[in-house]
């Protein structure tokens, strides 16, 4: 393996491959879908958590929360109005402060707070609002304060928000579309135009060509996933772990893309195959759309589950390495199998293109 040769071919692919419509499609498509969803569910341009407060005693906490620019805070005269707003999704979380709240805080006695949560609110918005309340209380008292926050779900408690249901699809599209299609198309075009035989009569080997194409797919995959997560504010508390998962997913997608490209004879066949295997690639995302009707364990039967699930676990539920380790191990095994397949494909393709 020569890093120099790989770098030379990679630079060529980066310069000329990015002008290819497939490359543009792979970048633009998930972005468009993400933007569309953001517009539909109002999470792109108004992604701040919405907090409703009923304040019976003009608490300083209400003033402190109203001053925050990362929350949309609305006050209500009574709990009935707050509940109405919560049930309709007008606010995502609600807080009811008793009349003697500030006095209880200053006394240092344990204070009970009820935190009403709209059943369809995003987990990250609940976390942001909860953390903001706790931090402001600490600011007001100047010390760690014994406040117990009891969450109470309001509205359709079992429902999963549509934005959350569609997120797996957007994440999968961003990781898989570029990761598979770009290296596969590039391989097919190099075969069709016979440039592959020209390149492999230089000291560059077929394995080096595969690695170059795979790198392009994996980097595009990570880049695309990065953009989608950034647009959706989905980096969560473990961005490095999320980056690792995106990287592993990108390598798996690109390995499959190169393998596909090494087998397929022309671009039309490649698209036909891509369409027909699309159901398997995006199956975990479709299953996630219907959590009430399709048993969610079925998603585990599809390889892409082990890409999208860790991403969602880390991004949406704040999972750590220990929580996603098993899924990542399965993903690593799948990727290793694909790489073994690539090794055999390289030798076979060398004979084919000669």
């Amino acid at each position: 393996m020569s890093i120099r040769r790989i770098g030379v071919l990679f630079a060529k692919d980066l310069k000329f491959g990015t002008r290819n419509y497939i490359f543009v499609f792979a970048i633009v498509m998930p972005l468009l879908v993400s933007l569309l969803l953001g517009l539909m569910f109002g999470t792109i341009f108004s992604e701040k958590p919405k907090l409703g407060i009923v304040d019976a005693g003009n608490s300083q906490l209400t003033d402190a929360l109203l001053a925050l620019d990362f929350l949309i805070v609305q006050t209500f005269p009574n709990e009935a109005d707050l509940m109405t707003a919560l049930e309709g999704g007008g606010v995502e979380v609600g807080l009811s402060l008793p009349a003697a709240f500030d006095a209880e805080l200053q006394s240092g006695a344990r204070t009970e707070l009820t935190f009403y949560v709209w059943g369809q609110s995003l987990v990250k918005n609940r976390a942001i609002a909860s953390a903001a309340i706790t931090d402001r209380i600490v600011d007001l008292t100047g010390r760690a304060t014994p406040v117990t926050i009891s969450p109470v779900l309001v509205g359709d408690q079992a429902a999963v928000p549509w934005q959350q249901r569609l997120l797996p699809l957007v994440v999968l599209m961003s990781v898989m579309l570029g990761g598979i299609l770009v290296p596969a198309t590039s391989m097919v075009e190099e075969k069709l135009k016979r440039t592959l035989s020209a390149v492999t009569t230089t000291p560059m080997s077929m394995r080096e060509v595969f690695l170059t194409k795979g790198m392009m797919g994996a980097l595009l995959s990570v880049f695309s996933g990065f953009i989608i997560l950034t647009l959706n504010g989905g980096w969560g508390p473990n961005p490095l772990l999320l980056l690792l998962v995106l990287g592993m997913g990108g390598i798996a997608a690109a390995s499959f893309g190169v393998l596909l490209g090494s087998r397929v004879k022309d671009v039309q066949t490649l698209f036909a195959i891509n369409k027909s295997i699309g159901i398997f690639i995006y199956a975990p995302a479709f299953i996630a759309l219907f959590p009430d009707t399709i048993p969610q364990w079925i998603a585990r039967l599809f390889p892409t589950y082990y890409i999208v699930q860790p991403v969602l676990d880390i991004s949406q539920r704040g999972a750590g390495l220990g929580d996603v380790a098993v899924d990542l191990l399965v993903l690593a095994v799948i990727t290793a199998a694909l790489i073994l397949g690539l090794s055999a494909a390289a030798d076979r393709l060398q004979v084919q293109v000669a």
Binding site: R4, R5, V8, L9, K12, F16, R19, K193, R194, T195, S197, A198, V199, T200, T201, T202, P203, M204, S205, Q350, V351, V353, A354
Partner: protein, 287 residues
């Protein structure tokens, strides 16, 4: 002592049950232009693919510049240049970009503009190659094969389908390259071209080498030298006569002809490589 650039020993390759190259052996000397001639499907391209490390021989071995092509493929490929019969250039790139890319893949510095000047493409060096004519693409492929200053140059039908000017430009470049010490392995079914360029030729037929020698010696050994004579009969009609030059009574026959008939024209004719190929293999080269 002759230094061999290429040594093929018992080289064999089969596509499934079809043996394309069948135990062939030959040597090519350093700085030699070696014509490898045969009809389509004779095994020419398969031999080149084995010699350039694109496919592995099923049997036998080949060494290029003393290196085993199977065990030291990458090393060998650094010293060879290959110009394919079918254009396989990056169409969306310019000629300069194509040559620069391959120079970088070889890890060498190349004066790409000087190379393009040699093949007469310097005026259109920055245009996209997809807009080039077949002849221009062919010339660019020869330039690309030279980008790493190869010690062995493989050319597969380099003038196939080219106009006479482009074909001549490529022939001149091949001679110039050989003059610089490069060995040229020329694969073709164009006998005239092989005769003009090659120091030695090998005839390959059905995967086996049928004959190998200099064009001159092959003609001497297998060819018939003829005297073609045109005579006029009493009625003003022309008739053709052929006299073998190498017969023991040639002189007597010529004398008798001039005495008895009215000779209009006389031409000597030498056998072509094509004639010899047919004589040896029973097959024509073209097609």
């Amino acid at each position: 002592m002759t230094t061999h650039s290429i040594v093929a020993q018992d080289l064999t390759y089969a596509y499934g049950d079809n043996t394309a190259v069948d135990h062939i052996s030959f040597e090519v000397g350093e700085g030699e232009i070696f014509g490898y001639l045969g009809p389509n499907g004779a095994g020419k391209s398969t031999t080149v693919k084995m010699l350039t490390g694109q496919i592995r021989p099923k049997q036998g071995k080949a060494t290029l510049l003393g290196m085993d092509i199977v065990r030291e493929t990458n090393k060998v490929q650094a010293f060879i240049g290959v110009a394919f019969e079918t254009a396989n250039l990056y169409g969306q790139m310019s000629a300069v970009e194509n040559l620069t890319l391959f120079a970088r893949l070889y890890g060498v510095k190349a004066d790409v503009h000087a190379l393009l000047e040699k093949v007469g493409l310097d005026g259109r060096a920055k245009e996209r190659v997809e807009g080039y004519s077949k002849g221009m693409k062919q010339r660019l492929m020869v330039a690309r094969a030279l980008v790493n200053h190869p010690r062995i140059l493989f050319l597969d039908e380099p003038t196939e389908g080219l106009d006479p000017v482009s074909a001549q430009a490529i022939r001149d470049l091949i001679r110039e390259t050989r003059a610089g010490g490069t060995t040229v392995f020329l694969t073709t079914h164009d006998m005239v071209e092989a005769d003009k360029l090659s120091d030695r030729v090998a005839f390959i037929n059905q995967g086996r080498i049928a004959a190998i020698d200099t064009p001159h010696r092959l003609k001497q050994q297998y060819g018939k030298r003829l005297l073609k004579v045109e005579v006029e009969d009493g009625g003003g009609r022309l008739a053709a006569r052929e006299i073998t030059l190498d017969a023991s009574d040639t002189g007597e026959t010529v004398k008798r002809l001039f005495e008895r008939e009215k000779v209009v024209t006389v031409h000597s004719e030498e056998a072509t490589l094509e004639d010899i190929f047919i004589q040896i293999t029973g097959r024509r080269l073209a097609g």
